[in-house]
């Protein structure tokens, strides 16, 4: 099946090519969802083995991104896609690039977990993981929306990102207080800060994908997303 509207193409090989692209995105999104979930689990349970595994599996996502690009380029060259087909193909390429970035953030969380687990745990880690879980839900919803071509669901994800940005801003303050409290926390807290930032970026990438879905379905671009990440203005005086 594919996400495009209307009846099937007269040339069935065209449908097969589109299906292949769809299948690759579906495989890629499934894998990155697992990677991101595992990276959170590794932070939460200080599981070095799992963190290492996340780090190693990132190559598979990179490979899938190249496969998506190759399939999309082939479709454009051989089928001269138009209208919704063209929009789907362009969105698939953009989504693949976003998904690949999400994979990179998951890998980076894995790497930082390896360092953080050398230090005593901080209660704020739980809070970072909780934010990660909201983003995980966002990811699941956005991939479902992409594969189902559901722009309303995509819009819901897009709108919810504001909550995640707000959560991130409050975590930023909290982590700063840990650093000020005891300088021995600074190493682990710095890594945790980056973990939180990575999670927040994954949320942003989910909204990028939402925008691609919206474009595929409507042919129009979304206006600028509301931003609630105020951490750049934060300081503890």
């Amino acid at each position: 099946m594919n996400t495009t509207v209307g009846s099937d193409h007269i040339v069935t090989a065209y449908d097969q090519d589109l299906d292949e692209l769809y299948r690759l995105i579906s495989q890629m999104s499934g894998l990155v969802e697992t990677q991101f979930a595992n990276s959170l689990k590794a932070v939460d349970s200080r599981d070095e083995e799992l963190a290492l595994k996340v780090k190693q599996r990132d190559k598979e996502i990179d490979q899938l991104e190249s496969d998506v690009d190759a399939a999309a380029i082939r479709l454009i060259a051989l089928r001269q896609p138009m209208a919704d087909d063209l929009r789907f193909i362009i969105s698939a390429m953009k989504a693949a690039s976003d998904i690949e970035r999400i994979g990179d953030y998951a890998k980076n969380i894995g790497k930082r977990t390896l360092v953080m687990s050398q230090f005593p745990a901080m209660p704020v880690m739980k809070s970072v993981v909780r934010m990660g879980q909201s983003v995980q839900t966002q990811l699941r919803d956005i991939f479902d929306a992409f594969l189902a071509g559901d722009e309303e669901k995509a819009m819901q994800v897009w709108e919810k990102d504001e909550d995640i940005d707000a959560h991130y801003t409050s975590l930023f303050r909290e982590i700063l207080t840990y650093m000020m409290e005891d300088p021995r926390n600074i190493t682990a807290a710095s890594h945790l800060m980056f973990v939180a930032k990575n999670i927040e970026r994954v949320g942003d990438l989910a909204t990028n994908i939402a925008e691609s879905i919206y474009f595929t379905k409507t042919g129009e671009s979304l206006a600028d997303r509301p931003k609630a990440d105020a951490s750049k203005y934060e300081s503890l005086d």
Binding site: S7, H9, I10, M82
Partner: protein, 267 residues
């Protein structure tokens, strides 16, 4: 862009004047109605592409624009078609004169069985556009140059036009059409008998001609419509389904039938 089926008015940028306009155009071949209330604006010095499946009425409509359908006995036309606001079906309009203003290039190149020179000179002579040999030679050269074929034929103007390759013949026919200084050029699938290189040359030519002429082109190749036109009109079963700027029609058509056709989902 809007769906035109309810004869809505389309808002186009005001910087282009309307050159030709069809209002509630209906065409019948005997009992059979081929076109239903077509409302269309063709803008000055723009390329308007007419696309749609076979039998959708796009060629019929094109042929109405210079009264080529007059030669078909059973053909009856209602509604109004204007050039610069003048009704071309008025009794006072001479179809021969009209066809000089609104020229046509056909699917199959059809040079006269005469020399290359005479093919181009014929029109200006019968329309009395020249009164001496020098003027005639000049008009032939200019027309062949504008049709991008001068360099290929300048040394053999006395050779028969029918001896040229298909692509050259088609450019010769374009030279012949522009020799009578038309304002509008109608093209009915001008590249369907040509190879890709000859097609590319015609497309490049269309691009150049747009500076001086208004062009309406019927094409079966959607890629060609996308490449050469500024506006595209999609016909289906005798209706003008949708008309809009070409990039919008090919990236984000409004009507499902347009979408189905351009993406290759029905024929």
């Amino acid at each position: 862009m809007k769906n035109l089926e309810q004869s809505e008015v389309v808002n186009y940028p005001a910087d282009r004047a309307i050159k030709m306009q069809g209002k509630d155009v209906k065409v019948f071949y005997g009992e059979k109605q081929a076109l239903f209330d077509v409302n269309i604006d063709i803008y000055d010095r723009e390329v308007t592409a007419l696309i749609g499946p076979s039998g959708c009425g796009k060629s019929t409509f094109l042929r109405c624009l210079n009264r080529m359908n007059d030669t078909v006995d059973i053909c009856r036309i209602e509604g109004k078609i204007t050039v610069d606001g003048e009704d071309i079906y008025e009794r006072s309009v001479d179809p021969v004169h009209l066809r000089a203003r609104v020229g046509m290039v056909f699917q199959k190149p059809n040079p006269f069985p005469k020399s290359i020179f005479d093919n181009v000179a014929y029109g200006p002579k019968i329309h009395g556009l020249v009164d001496n040999k020098t003027d005639l030679e000049e008009i032939v050269e200019t027309s062949l140059r504008k049709a991008s074929i001068w360099d290929e034929v300048k040394d053999r103007l006395d050779a028969p036009g029918t001896g040229l390759s298909g692509g050259q013949q088609q450019r010769l026919c374009i030279a012949r059409a522009i020799a009578v200084r038309p304002e509008v050029i109608l093209m009915d699938e001008p590249c369907s008998a040509l190879d890709p290189i000859a097609t590319a040359k015609i497309e490049e030519l269309i691009h150049e001609l747009r500076e001086n002429f208004t062009i309406a082109i019927v094409t079966h190749s959607m890629q060609q419509a996308a490449r050469v036109s500024q506006r595209t009109a999609f016909f289906h079963l005798g209706h003008l389904v949708e008309m809009g700027e070409t990039d919008q029609i090919f990236t984000n058509p409004e009507d499902e039938r347009t979408q189905g056709y351009i993406t290759g989902r029905f024929g």
